[in-house]
Amino acid sequence: MSPGRIRLARRLAAKDLLIERRSRVLVNQVLPFSGLVMVVFAFALGTGGVLERAAPGLVWLAVLFSSLSTVQRSFGLETADGAMESLRVAGVDPIALFLGKAAALAIELLVLVTVLLGLAVVLYGTEPRAEGIVLLVTTAISATLGLAALGTIYGGLAAGGSGRETLLPLLVLPVAAPVLIGATRGVEAALGTDRTAVSEGWPWVGLLLVFAVAIGVGGALAFGTLIED
């Protein structure tokens, strides 16, 4: 990993975050949407303990759905005026391109996850316990990294041409299933849902980390081929 590559990736990520700060698409559109999803879950499932028990899974479902919009936005700004193509044609290192997009996506998703976990406390009455905080944070971060890497791969694929946006959910959701399962179990253990112990959560964090690393490495290597359209 050359320093030049990391510098490029940092610059790419900073560019994405600057664009988000300017346009506020995620804050003004995606975040309200994910909040809405949480509320609609509550309507559908009603009260009486079901919500509290299902809360960890619902949070990650909402994250998953919202991450699709986030990925679409992230690559929409690259394709709107052919910027991604310019980068590719100019020979900008595709690994740096992948790492930069994934890093920006990870930061954006982490904000989303934090807000949604907070919403779960308010809306679903799930109280985090002190001994589970470390597990909660590790789970959130490792799951987010995996989702960001995954979203970057498929976002890059969907960015190639017209009519591909509709393909994104079909491609991402089945592959994201391990993240959904792992992150849900991890958060359940952290919160003590169904009287699970904190120690039960750590193997799931392991799974999430394996996933994030595998997808991250695979995506970095494959990204050049994927966007070479």
């Binding site: 190639g160 041409g161 393909l167 996933f211």
Partner: protein
């Protein structure tokens, strides 16, 4: 293997070998029905439900075999020196076969489950993985349907074919 030019007009893409293979397959299918439904006895534990296994197990094996072929051919296309489009075509055709047979697996499996468990579907790891793999390869076929030149399609789908399978199977090897 050297037919006269007149007969080759209607031959489409078939060869004598594929035709023989097709007839053998039809005969074997009939045989399977005869043995599976009539000649073999009911199982001691499963009763008559075991008869579904005679179609269920071969289809799932075939589906997995087809997906392995897809993954291997994707790798051969991507990492091969000549980037031969032949591998890409085999990968795509194999994925189609895999999807069809995995659909059959899911259908016969859920019918078996209805008899044995009383429900069509149970959320255990193996069933979930199978369903996810099914959807993953539907996505793979959708990627193959995207616009672009043959080389682009081959590159894209090879990456997806290589990436998707192990990840979807990760749901199978989850910690207890």
């Amino acid at each position: 293997m050297t037919p006269s030019p007149q007969t080759s007009i209607r031959r489409a893409t078939g060869t004598r070998a594929t035709r023989v293979l097709g007839i053998v397959t039809l005969v074997m299918l009939g045989w399977l029905g005869l043995f599976g439904l009539v000649l073999s006895p009911a199982d001691v534990d499963q009763g008559d439900a075991v008869r579904i296994m005679y179609v269920h197990v071969p289809t799932v094996w075939l589906a997995y075999l087809a997906f392995i072929v897809t993954a291997v051919c994707s790798a051969l296309y991507l990492f091969g020196k000549r980037h031969s489009l032949g591998f890409d075509r085999v990968a795509g055709a194999s994925a189609e076969i895999g999807v069809v047979f995995m659909a059959l697996t899911l259908i016969s499996g859920s019918l078996w489950g209805r008899i044995t468990w009383g429900v069509y579907w149970q959320w255990d790891a193996r069933l979930t993985t199978t369903a996810l793999l099914f959807v993953t390869y539907i996505g793979y076929l959708a990627v193959r349907g995207l616009d672009g030149t043959r080389e682009r399609r081959a590159r894209r789908s090879a990456v997806i074919g290589l990436l998707a399978a192990p990840v979807a199977s990760l749901a199978h090897h989850r910690p207890r």
